[in-house]
């Protein structure tokens, strides 16, 4: 389980995270929602040690992340940020193989190659596995990076706005893969989402942040309510039920 306690982060005088505490459920998808500057991405970066907090601790399986060797932590927790670019000539398969770096560094074993194959199949990248990354479209590139995370085979997967720059088709595809990762492989996924409808449709739990604090955290149906969302986003949101899923209309 991932647990954060009293996380505080400040930039100068501005408090971005204000004593945030939270436990994330295993084997489920938890979405982080909230307006710009609410602290969602910062929280994700702190959990994944990309950013160091000013106070508080992050526990992964009851152990402080600072006590892990970086290599060991990389076998338990992976993070995918929104902007990724590589200057070097790299094929999709080579990128996905990097997912095995925490285990075998650059010398891949048979086992590793199997995991790489599985990840490539999982993301439907078989046809383009030998293409160079700089020849791919944004959606394909995103999928290649996700395959790398799948190959990394960590219990916990953190994603920072994975739907940015993706069209509808690819956004839906991405979220379906997330669902598959949680349901079929039992992964714990924490994901920062901007589109409330994606959060409503695909996540099990939702955590809402505002001004650096968690103001709500509950199951999806308890969060996707007009009064709660109005409080989170400060706009009026109408909710209608469609195929037993709640859709928010905020236009």
């Amino acid at each position: 389980m991932i647990e954060v306690q009293e996380i505080t982060k400040q930039y100068g005088d501005k408090v971005v995270l204000d004593r945030v505490g939270m436990q994330f459920n295993k084997g489920k998808i938890t979405s982080l929602i909230g307006g710009n500057g609410a602290g969602k991405s910062t929280l994700l970066s702190v959990i994944s040690r990309l950013l160091s907090q000013d106070g508080g601790v992050v526990l992964v399986d009851e152990k402080n992340v600072t006590e892990y060797k970086s290599k060991m932590l990389a076998q338990r927790l992976s993070i995918l940020k929104q902007s990724n670019h590589v200057r070097l000539k790299l094929t999709v398969r080579e990128l996905v193989s990097f997912g095995r770096f925490p285990y075998s560094q650059e010398k891949l074993t048979k086992e590793d190659n199997k995991m790489v194959d599985r990840a490539i199949d999982f993301l439907n990248l078989k046809e383009i596995e030998h293409s160079y990354l700089d020849e791919l479209s944004g959606g394909q590139k995103q999928r290649a990076y996700m395959a790398m995370v799948v190959a990394q085979d960590t219990e916990y997967i953190l994603l920072d706005e994975p739907l940015n720059n993706l069209d509808m088709k690819h956004s839906v595809q991405t979220m379906k893969i997330m669902r598959k990762l949680a349901d079929e492989l039992g992964k714990t996924i924490i994901i920062v989402l901007h589109d409330i409808n994606f959060a409503s449709h695909y996540s099990d739990y939702i955590v809402a942040l505002k001004n650096g604090k968690i103001i709500y955290h509950d199951t999806t149906e308890n969060i996707i309510r007009e009064d709660v969302l109005k409080d989170v986003f400060d706009i009026n949101i109408k909710i209608c039920e469609f195929d037993s899923k709640r859709i928010c209309n905020y236009f």
């Binding site: 990309l50 670019h85 200057r87 990097f98 990394q152």
Partner: protein, 319 residues
């Protein structure tokens, strides 16, 4: 896989070319006293190998750390510091310089000076908790400019005759290599490259960017610091041995990236080393045989490097 085969063949071709250029350089028109010629030229070949190793590893690593293909470590002010040290020495001792300080002393002072400078620079930046490589570069640029200005100022004050001593140091040359310095340089280069090579896989991960590198379990800050220290040592050694030459790095790294399409730093660094050595050997050969020693090799490198730089800016979309 086919790609691995192509790369291996490329490396092999480069190696054969290198052996060919070494042979050409050593045995072309040896004359009567072949023992003397061979010894004389052998020293140059070894010096070229040392410099090629230093330039290849430091430039490729630096470009990966900064994620930029048009930078070389000279941006951090190493060379301006080297010239400042030389200027200060001449400023103090004047025409007595060579009597007071041996080549070995000068080498030691320069190398220690440059390495201390880089350590202070790193400490200053990292102690403030700003693990920001770009800040480091910008501070390096500014200090480099400061050093250059100080040097120019002192050069104006000294005796014009003494200035010639400094002028000799301003351009890289393989013509007056001191054998006493060659072996220690070679040893340092081999040691650093040996360790650096074992760490080349970390460079592959660093090239994916900071976030990805941390995600994949690399202790990013520590790795960057270690590589920066290696760069400082290698640049100091090659500069103190032959003079400012890191502009060569820009030329050879980009040529290597053109020729070897891979993300594996172990291959890129090896290839870059071979390319650098070939370029230096052929450059030196032409300088000796065609230009009759009238043009310093760093001038040739800078002219070709300059044109290549323009080409990169104009033709290549992705730098």
């Amino acid at each position: 896989m086919e790609k691995a085969l192509v790369l291996r063949r490329g490396l092999l071709t480069a190696l054969i070319l290198l052996i060919g250029s070494v042979a050409l350089f050593l045995f072309y028109k040896m004359g009567n006293s072949w023992e003397f010629a061979l010894r004389f030229r052998g020293i140059k070949v070894i010096a070229i190998i040392v410099v090629a190793g230093c330039v290849a590893f430091s430039s490729v690593t630096f470009q990966t750390l900064t994620d930029n293909r048009i930078l070389t470590p000279s941006i951090m002010g190493f060379e301006s510091l080297y010239l400042l040290i030389q200027t200060v020495i001449v400023f103090i001792y004047g025409d007595q310089t060579f009597k007071v300080l041996s080549h070995v002393d000068n080498f030691l002072i320069s190398v220690t000076g440059m390495i201390t400078f880089s350590f202070l620079l790193y400490l200053m930046i990292y102690k403030k908790g700003k693990d920001n490589l770009y800040l480091l570069l910008l501070v390096g640029i500014i200090l480099g400019t400061l050093f250059s200005s100080l040097s120019s100022f002192m050069q104006l004050l000294i005796d014009p005759n003494d200035f010639f001593i400094i002028q000799g140091k301003m351009f890289a040359t393989f013509n007056k290599i001191n054998t006493d310095l060659l072996w220690p340089s070679l040893v340092i280069m081999v040691i650093i490259l040996f360790i650096g090579f074992r760490m080349a896989k970390y460079l592959d991960v660093v090239a994916l960017g900071r976030d990805q590198a941390i995600n994949l379990g690399l202790n990013y800050n520590r790795a960057v610091k270690i590589f920066l220290v290696f760069i400082a040592i290698l640049v100091s050694v090659s500069t103190a041995l032959v003079g400012p030459i890191t502009f060569l790095g820009l030329l050879v790294t980009n040529l290597t990236y053109e020729l070897f399409k891979t993300h594996k730093h172990s291959i890129i660094i090896t290839a870059c080393f071979l390319v650098s050595a070939i370029a230096l050997l052929i450059g030196q050969f032409f300088m000796e045989r065609v230009f009759n020693l009238s043009v310093p090799i760093s001038a040739i490198i800078n002219i070709i490097g300059g044109f290549y730089f323009m080409y990169l800016l104009l033709r290549v979309k992705k730098l």
